[in-house]
């Protein structure tokens, strides 16, 4: 059983009980994804699986055999920051930085969800593509907590990344 993480193949552990988050942090020394609550409430462990965001603390690594995972370590292009990473710096979208990897992975997923026209809980109509708005961004970042309260900078960064009409 193998899993691809940031375009690199890894053998999955023999012990199938290990979560995807623990596998990455404790076995592969990929410390970018953070263990905040370890029960699906904080979003600090958010990663992409084949482009869709999930919480790696609530996933058995074995379940993602053959799938492609992207973490914060895999978004920059060498020394060149991912555009959303650069916007987090520019907009001061952080204070302590602990939630930042999860926020950025959610922000990247959020853009593709919006581009595909996926509605959210604040979309006026669940059957048509939503209009980009600050409310849509806030709703779609609601699974990522920031206990420093850096939300305004985070939302500014993601809004700039997503583009479109500001409200």
């Amino acid at each position: 059983m193998t899993i691809e993480i940031n375009n690199q193949p890894y053998d999955l552990p023999d012990d199938a009980r290990i979560s995807l988050l623990d596998f990455m942090r404790e076995r592969l020394e990929l410390f970018g994804s953070k263990k905040g609550c370890n029960q699906g409430a904080c979003g600090a462990c958010t990663v992409l699986v084949d482009g869709e965001r999930i919480l790696s603390c609530l996933a058995l690594a074995a379940q993602y055999d053959g799938r492609s995972v992207t973490t914060i370590e895999g978004v920059a292009n060498g020394d060149e920051l991912h555009p959303l990473q650069a916007l987090f710096v520019e907009n001061e979208g952080m204070q302590c930085g602990y939630c930042t990897p999860g926020q950025i992975m959610s922000g990247i997923a959020l853009k593709s969800e919006l581009e595909r026209g996926a509605p959210s809980n604040v979309s006026a109509d669940l059957t048509v593509a939503p209009r980009m708005s600050r409310d849509e961004i806030k709703e779609r970042l609601s699974g990522n907590l920031c206990r420093c309260g850096a939300h305004n900078g985070i939302i500014d960064a993601v809004a700039a990344y997503v583009g479109g009409e500001e409200q």
Partner: protein
């Protein structure tokens, strides 16, 4: 322990015959429910069983496979009867959880506050349970037998849900939590209705988190049938809410829940009738 990931339903139910095995799909409830207890039993992952993920339209209704995620529900082209289920789909946890968590898992976990239950009760959903000896169907209301208790017998797993095609109606779901996001419901209400002009021709109302399992309020449904949408709230009577038994817990006290439910029902009816 052994991790099993069968690709056909026959293999999955055959594994259920053997040693104690825990069935998982998205894992979003399974992990937190464990707490610090180690995993000792075998795990049966049903996410790669052929035909278990997705929504299929049949001439007489819809089939929702047991590995279908909340996001799958939200993205599926479904008629307005499913609007309450779609509204619940985008309020369950966060988008990260909606991408992994399944509707069937929400039902099997059988929390009194499971957001999927009231929208499926008003659709009169049936669950399909599979075992090595065959399959059986049960109304969802009969499947949920108590707090975290279901009618699943040893050797059985949920294969999916059936929803019979109703006369075209509309539906709404209203959830009350202590904050806007990522909360377990204090109370929630799903309403499905069919209008005849401004009158209610048919209505189904289900309430969650106010009794051991979510319940339909059939006496209230009867009282509101034929009523003008705008007059509904004036027809509420204490007798209509007898099936509810709200408790006091860390999220809200019982009198608050009982009071809030009436406001939520009025709101859901208005929203569904829009």
């Amino acid at each position: 322990m052994t991790y099993h990931r069968p690709t056909c339903l026959d293999d999955a139910v055959a594994l259920l015959q053997c040693a104690p095995v825990e069935v998982i799909a998205g894992g979003t409830d399974w992990y937190p429910a464990r707490g610090d207890r180690p995993v000792t039993s075998d795990i049966l992952d049903i996410t790669r069983v052929d035909g278990l993920r997705g929504i299929r339209a049949a001439p007489d209704g819809w089939w929702i496979g047991a590995a279908t995620t909340w996001t799958d529900i939200l993205r599926a082209p479904l008629p307005p009867d499913f609007d309450a289920l779609k509204a619940a789909a985008c309020e369950v946890g966060s988008i990260q959880i909606q991408n992994a968590g399944t509707v069937a898992g929400n039902l099997c976990n059988a929390s009194p506050a499971a957001d999927g239950v009231p929208p499926l009760l008003v659709l009169e959903a049936e669950v399909e349970l599979a075992s090595a000896t065959g399959q059986r169907r049960l109304p969802l209301a009969a499947f949920l037998t108590g707090v975290r208790q279901t009618a699943l017998q040893p050797g059985e797993m949920m294969a999916g849900l059936w929803i019979r095609k109703p006369a075209p109606g509309r539906a709404a779901f209203v959830k009350l939590g202590a904050r806007r996001y990522l909360v377990i419901s204090i109370a929630m209400v799903a309403v499905w209705l069919r209008l005849d002009g401004s009158l209610i021709a048919e209505i189904r109302i289900a309430v969650g988190a106010c009794s051991p399992t979510s319940v339909r309020l059939t006496a209230l449904e009867a009282a509101l049938t034929g009523c003008r949408v705008a007059d509904c709230a004036t027809r509420f009577h204490a007798d209509h809410f007898v099936p509810l038994a709200p408790i006091t817990d860390m999220r809200a006290d019982a009198p608050y829940r009982a009071d809030a439910v009436q406001a939520l029902i009025a709101r859901a009816i208005t929203e569904a009738a829009l």
